[in-house]
Assembly symmetry: C2
Homo-oligomer: 225 residues x 2
Amino acid sequence: MSPSAADSALICTVDVVLMTLQQNALHVALLRRERAPFAGVLALPGGYIHAHEDADAQASAARVLRDKAGLQSPYLEQLATFSGPARDPRGWSLAVAYCALVPPEVLAGAPALTLAPVAQLPPLPFDHRAMVDAAVARVRSKSQYSSMPVHLCAEPFTLPQLQAVYETVLGEPLNKVSFRRKMDELDLLEPVPGALQTGGAHRPAQLYRVRAAYRGRLSLSARGL
Amino acid sequence: MSPSAADSALICTVDVVLMTLQQNALHVALLRRERAPFAGVLALPGGYIHAHEDADAQASAARVLRDKAGLQSPYLEQLATFSGPARDPRGWSLAVAYCALVPPEVLAGAPALTLAPVAQLPPLPFDHRAMVDAAVARVRSKSQYSSMPVHLCAEPFTLPQLQAVYETVLGEPLNKVSFRRKMDELDLLEPVPGALQTGGAHRPAQLYRVRAAYRGRLSLSARGL
DNA sequence: GAAATAGTGTCTATAAGACAGTATTTT
DNA sequence: AAAATACTGTCTTATAGACACTATTTC
């Protein structure tokens, strides 16, 4: 075996920053580690890339999510790759981090997960803290000009609900008229015919769903919001 | 050795999409491969990650650029990670792709490189075509709201020169007044005192350099341009 | 009908672009 | 002085936000 080929045989893993909304705050899903290193510690769901079964690293991330958290995330995006000699006590390693967004309802069927608000994270092993920070920055940034936050909202939803999701992610109130204008321009949503959210002591709100053409995809706005 | 640890020993490489401007068009630097696979074929500069000497994958990319192309790029950004069983004939592999931008002057001292316009690329091995496409999309996208294109311009430069660089990257003319207003807001540039670009049969232009606080960094605009 | 929130019309403020002017150089 | 491009002042247009009004429900 050539020296350079030996050099390239590294510990390769994937880690998933799975985010959702809970009590009007962004939360990250953590899992207690079963094995060393850091056995028993809360960490991001992660695992080795399995070359013999995974079509690529994204498939590894989806498999980790399925096997360790028992769920499937329609939105799964590559975040960044973290590497170096110090991030894992086992030695030089490389981890491809992914970002997943799910509505809180999806996590009901995943009891092994612990949700931690991104503003008050427990100490995390490896460089998982940096991964979470990068994921949060990515979500905040993309929420300014894309439909990314719809993945945090179970369908069907009302426009006031969706606006509240955007406001939570962005951490600031949004102008109602502008928000609705922008949503209209994005052409992302369609009203569910005849479906209104009733129950409140007020006018019921129209329920919407994502148009088929945009499922699993993002819609981008030229100028933000 | 456990099966999962064996699974994680993969071929790990870095590839660099090194871009510059030539004749008013974005070009990618390619290098003829010395070894199999694809020996003799033009490809992105790339190489194995060397765990014993590289501080992380970014350091590997910088080393590849230095050793194979003989240059150092002040701007080097992680692009994305490409992986899977089919991208490399040697088997399941993982490549961290980086994006580098240099002014054309820097490539004068790197004669091994072949520049290809991104609009007319030769056939590329591996998934290098996908990497170039991703890098071009990234540069075009970030040029809409950041100072990224200044890395394609040797300092000092004039505002009309910089505007031409933006226009080439974005592929559309920009409004001169708006462009200068935005550059002013970014607070990125400072005039070189007393330095004017003379020589043309017209009023000379003020020469600018990037403020020390922004060297190697990007400046972002809230609303684009 | 009072209260509450949904949804809309419209005015105001801000930001982007068009256009034309002045400035400074070479030939 | 003519030509060329740098730079700036200012008007127009487009976009975002403020505000208030109407709509529809429950109690």
